[in-house]
Point group: none
Chain length 276, copies 2
């Protein structure tokens, strides 16, 4: 390490740090280069790791990592770490002020809104663990894994849930068919023996979804589904139903629970298929 590198000033944002990293990586001695390469790949660890941890992961002694920080212009590891911790903490101290300010100017409290939805998401996810039994899920996964084609249906609020399932099934090479559009009832024609229908509907339950599942079930095709209420009429003809209630915030329900649950279901189906 030459005088020159010591004179540099510390980067005060991540971009600058990356530039400096890339610029210096060539003319750095072996161990310091090791630090640079590792750090470049694991920037996110700095905020939550000690020097010793970073040094060990990079395969160098703590003192070497220390010198690496200084080569980048920082006074030490702590100052470099502060840069990454700032990302998380920056807006904390003035949170209260900020909110007051937003309120005052008559503006929408977007920050608060987002925090509320995040909170709501946590609550939705919590309910899954309480309501869903693994037996249940396993049974449905097993049925879907033996199906020739898995047919999917879900409208309105449920549509994003089944479109996510369709994407996953396709990605995993599992034959699937997503039903949508106005003439949906006609599409019963494309459902054959050996197929399975998985339907998602939330209250108030979509007329079309209900009708399609009823018609399909009466033809002897197994129907499974996901809903948010015991009262879902589909329960009558479905072999099994999953029930996941989303937390409500100001009349809105983000389908966190439904998407998480159905993703787990799809992965379980894939795992079962691989097994047999």
């Amino acid at each position: 390490m030459t005088e020159q590198t010591l004179i540099q000033t510390a980067p005060d944002n991540v971009s600058e740090l990356l530039e400096k990293l890339d610029a210096s990586v060539e003319n750095l001695p072996k161990r310091l280069k090791q630090c640079a390469v590792f750090t470049r790949r694991h920037l996110h660890l700095i905020a939550v790791s000690t020097v010793s941890e970073m040094a060990e992961s990079a395969g160098v002694a703590p003192s070497v990592y220390m010198r690496f920080c200084q080569a980048l212009g920082f006074s030490g590891y702590s100052t470099m770490q502060a840069l990454f911790r700032a990302q998380f903490t920056e807006f904390r101290p003035n949170y209260q002020e900020r909110m007051a300010l937003l309120h005052k100017e008559g503006n929408v409290q977007t920050g608060r809104l987002l925090a509320d939805f995040v909170e709501s998401g946590h609550r939705s996810l919590l309910t899954i663990s309480n309501t869903i039994t693994s037996d249940h899920l396993e049974q449905i996964a097993s049925a879907l894994s033996r199906a020739r084609v898995v047919h999917l249906v879900g409208l309105r609020r449920a549509f994003c849930v089944v479109s996510n399932m369709a994407y996953l099934f396709e990605k995993l090479g599992i034959p699937t068919h997503l039903h949508y559009g106005t003439g949906m009832l006609d599409s019963t024609g494309s459902i054959f023996d050996g197929d399975v229908l998985f339907a998602v509907t939330f209250s108030p339950f979509s007329e079309e979804t209900i009708r399609l599942t009823e018609a399909t079930s009466k033809r002897g095709i197994p129907v499974y589904g996901l809903t948010d209420s015991e009262r879902c009429p589909m329960s009558e003809w479905a072999k099994e139903m999953l029930i996941a209630q989303e937390d409500e915030l100001a009349g809105f329900r983000v389908p966190n629970a439904a998407i998480t649950l159905t993703t787990a279901l799809v992965v379980a189906v894939k795992a079962m298929k691989d097994q047999s």
Copy 2:
């Protein structure tokens, strides 16, 4: 704090911690409740903050926050912090082993699978608070609220995100148009001056989405977007970009963060429209 609460064992994942938090928040003394309420809203800060910082932000003495950690079953602050740091530190590339393990015992452990995805969901939600600034969100919401029509585009993994947005916009009576299908580039014809395009794309970025946003932007139509990486080429021509990284589990990413974030965005747009 009674004997009873001291006997509890420490939560070993975010879900358990949240449950314990919610369960205990009622019968906690004033200052400890203060800790609980603040912590519930600022979970993401624990990984990068000291006890003193958390205590100060919560408005209590460090020793009180200490006791709060113990009331939750942890031996101290450090152990609780470890839980949140693990999120960053844990190596996740062993999902191959994990999937293999799922098979070993003869049947797929669906219960465990679901619990893992739920945990992953919590983690995704935590990162939102870390990465998104409310200024940012507000700016985009403001732009969308002034648009004649909000055009939406997102394919593959992003499709369920935009389809959810489209549903919400329609439900709220905000003019919107969801672009999809093969001839998507042709649909630039339906985008006029005064409109805005909001695009969602995750790495590896969908060719069609990138092209549509570029073409639209070059016509002078403002483009905004959501992605999961700084390297998204769309950043070049987009006015503003939101970046939300989802937690990965066994190679799968459930779009919890993206859906939560965009829902908040839509609601913010509605609120702004109502205001003016």
